[in-house]
């Protein structure tokens, strides 16, 4: 046991004395949480749009004003011909153009019917969809206001309640995802590098001839990184609550325990990668390519998993970040207790045990 602790101390000194790396390990998650927490959002606001108004009457002016006044749009260009629409789209700043035909108000008042054309730059289908939906809603509101004085019979009223996130802030869905991303990357990548580094520099030989068992070597390697990660978890949670204003509605203890569990999963992935890799470069790229993008995509915070083709939906099940994301969302945002996440927790535990077992079995005590 004493040998074991000495070994842990050695690993700790590796991290502690490499101040630059330690510094990176600590400030990187912090910067990322702040940056992504604020900047990664798909809310549409103040989107720049163009207007091609061929009638210039009271009705069109009123509609343009309504649109400009909403928080979604900012009318930034007035066009004078159809051709200009294509030209502005190609420059890339404008993503929606509203076209009013001639005699808009006349048609509306006398024929009770007028048309508006919404031309969206659908190269980003999602934004295009959202923008046209919002613009249509505003135009409909205007139309309703024309009918205000008439009392319509047989009306169905809908009452709408937005649960958990009444302001529809995207931080609520992004912060749990960013937590998964940051923890996974920092833990897995750093451990994988730590072990391969010893191989590459030749110090592995010294460790292998020591009386320590492979199991102990691996555990000792991970403990210091686990400590750094726990510190990171604390920072991340503090930042989400006090800087990003994402509340912790459930039990803090449960959240922290689940995060530590996830960290251990990430660490064991790191060890597994380091077993397979021969050079630091290979370890880094393997962890980068096999962790960063899958975590980003399959955790489900950027792209809904249910939209993916079935094989990918199945693959997403082996990505630990997916389960962690569900856990964080349930505990942190929905405020649910352990009863709601025990299945996900069990999956993470099994994954971790499996990965740890695999990496201990594959740990080579002989040099090639």
């Amino acid at each position: 046991m004493k040998q074991f602790f000495i070994f842990v101390k050695k690993e700790w000194l590796h991290i502690w004395r490499d101040r630059r790396t330690l510094f990176n390990l600590i400030w990187m998650p912090i910067v990322q949480i702040i940056l992504y927490g604020f900047a990664l959002t798909n809310e549409v606001k103040n989107s720049e749009i163009a207007v091609f108004d061929q009638s210039h009457d009271n009705a069109t002016t009123a509609i343009i004003q309504e649109i400009n006044a909403s928080r979604y749009f900012e009318v930034s260009q007035y066009l004078h011909s159809y051709k200009e629409i294509g030209a502005t789209f190609r420059k890339g700043k404008i993503s929606l153009a509203i076209v009013f035909p001639e005699n808009f108000q006349d048609n509306l008042l006398h024929n009770n019917y007028a048309q508006i054309q919404l031309i969206a730059d659908a190269s980003d289908p999602n934004t295009a969809n959202t923008l046209t939906n919002y613009a249509t809603a505003i135009i409909h509101d205007y139309q309703q206001s024309l009918n205000q004085n008439k009392d319509l019979p047989y009306t169905i009223k809908t009452q709408l309640r937005m649960l958990y996130n009444p302001e529809l802030k995207s931080a609520y869905s992004f912060v749990p995802g960013v937590m998964a991303l940051v923890l996974m990357l920092v833990c897995a990548m750093m451990t994988s590098i730590a072990i391969v580094r010893e191989k590459e520099l030749g110090t592995m030989e010294v460790i292998l001839v020591s009386p320590l068992k492979p199991f102990h070597i691996i555990i000792a390697k991970t403990i210091p990184y686990l400590a750094v990660s726990i510190f990171n978890i604390a920072c991340i949670l503090l930042l989400s609550v006090y800087v990003l204003n994402v509340p912790i509605n459930g039990s803090l203890l449960l959240l922290v325990l689940e995060s530590i569990l996830f960290t251990i999963t990430a660490l064991s992935i790191g060890i597994l990668i380091s077993n397979a890799a021969k050079t630091q470069q290979a370890a880094m790229f393997t962890s980068l390519l096999s962790l960063f993008l899958p975590t980003l995509l399959f955790s489900g915070f950027l792209f809904p998993i249910e939209n993916m083709p079935l094989p990918l939906q199945i693959i997403s099940n082996i990505v630990p970040a997916k389960w962690y994301y569900i856990i964080v969302e349930s505990v942190m945002i929905k405020g649910l207790g352990f009863w709601a996440v025990w299945k996900e927790t069990l999956i993470l535990v099994i994954m971790t045990l499996f990965l740890l077992g695999l990496s201990i079995r594959n740990f080579k005590i002989r040099l090639a």
Partner: protein, 372 residues
């Protein structure tokens, strides 16, 4: 020049004789390009609906059918009570709850008005926003049909209607892959370019081979160029592979010209490779260098407008994106491929990226010291 030739020969041999580099450079990105666009689909469809129907009337049945047949919603379950439906939301089985109160039909017909309750899981704000907008639209339409049934047409004053017509340019089928594939290609190029370059000089430092170069008569500029050119060529080859995959697998043919893409990519790659080299002149170990390079590329990629639109960011974050070369490349790729923009349309982006290239490489040359 002869020196440069030998340097290039050395670098190319080093790269080509390392099988793992080849794997990393070609196979991994190709797999990613094949899988990622399939996964990156952000259209809002398949909203799971849980219905609490207390009325069990003909009207409520018709309304539910209308909602389900609209294509946006999947009827997940009928719940007997609202708390039971809430439970479905808690377990992520449902995204939206529609509660139809008792006597819905009677109230609507006799009292001229009736209420419906909708509750949406708003953790994903966009999904909740669009989902509730869709369902309200359907309810409005249904309302209109009911009205037409009960009110004789002549009594019913025609109301002014504004008809909104849509057209979606450049991507009329709303194919999300057309949008994502060019962007993902950019991301892969950036990750590969900057990280490889970042590791390269440090590796020589760590293994000690840099001393041999330091005592040789190789000029600093040649040294950096010797490191830069091989990766530049390899990255252009990766780009070509990527464009071929985009064409063969996803059927993406640029509306603009390939030449525009290559001209811009050539300049862009100089910038990211320069950034990598710059980092590696500072770092002492591969671990340090990789970590910083990775961190920077990750921020660059996530803040580039690849996954979430730049216009949605707060102003200060938008300012940060001006200093992000990836932003320009993704913009340009999407503009050229989807909208057929020509060189004149992307002037700003070209100059910006050219500036980055000069800045990073110049700094790298200045910072590389032959003394340790």
């Amino acid at each position: 020049m002869r020196v440069l030739k030998f340097l290039l020969q050395k670098e190319f041999r080093q790269i080509l004789r390392d099988p793992s580099i080849f794997r990393i450079l070609f196979i991994a990105p190709m797999i990613q390009l094949l899988i990622l666009p399939l996964a990156a689909d952000y259209q809002i469809k398949n909203i799971n609906l849980s219905v609490v129907d207390h009325d069990h009337s003909q009207y409520s049945q018709i309304l539910i059918n209308k909602i389900v047949s609209s294509g946006y919603f999947r009827l997940k379950d009928y719940s007997a009570t609202f708390p039971q439906a809430m439970h479905s939301i808690e377990l992520d089985k449902a995204d939206l709850v529609l509660e139809i109160p008792i006597h819905f039909q009677r109230d609507l017909v006799k009292d001229n008005k009736a209420n419906l309750f909708i509750a949406a899981n708003a953790i994903n704000g966009i999904k909740a926003g669009l989902g509730s907008a869709y369902i309200q639209q359907i309810i409005q339409n249904y309302n209109q049909t009911v009205r037409m049934q009960w009110v004789q047409f002549p009594r019913f004053d025609p109301q002014p209607t504004i008809d909104v017509e849509y057209s979606d340019w450049y991507n009329p089928n709303m194919n999300y892959q057309y949008f994502m594939v060019p962007g993902i290609l950019v991301m892969l190029l950036t990750i590969i370019g900057s990280n490889f370059a970042a590791l390269n000089i440090v590796k020589e430092k760590e293994l000690g081979t840099i001393e041999q170069i330091n005592v040789s008569p190789i000029k600093k500029t040649y040294f950096i160029l010797g490191k830069l050119i091989p990766f530049w060529i390899l990255a252009l080859v990766v780009l070509t592979f990527g464009l071929v995959i985009a064409y063969v697998v996803y059927g993406i043919v640029p509306l603009g010209s390939y030449l525009t893409i290559y001209i811009f990519s050539a300049i862009y790659l100089l910038a990211v490779l320069g950034l990598g080299l710059l980092l590696s002149t500072y770092a002492q170990t591969q671990q340090q260098s990789f970590l910083v390079a990775f961190f920077i590329t990750m921020i660059f990629n996530l803040m580039s407008g690849l996954f979430t639109p730049i216009e949605s960011m707060p102003h200060w974050a938008q300012v940060i994106t001006w200093f992000n070369p990836v932003t320009y490349f993704i913009e340009v790729m999407r503009m050229v491929i989807l909208k057929g923009s020509v060189l004149a349309d992307i002037k700003t982006q070209i100059f910006a990226v050219l500036g980055f290239a000069v800045f990073f490489n110049g700094w790298a040359i200045l910072n590389y010291r032959k003394r340790s």
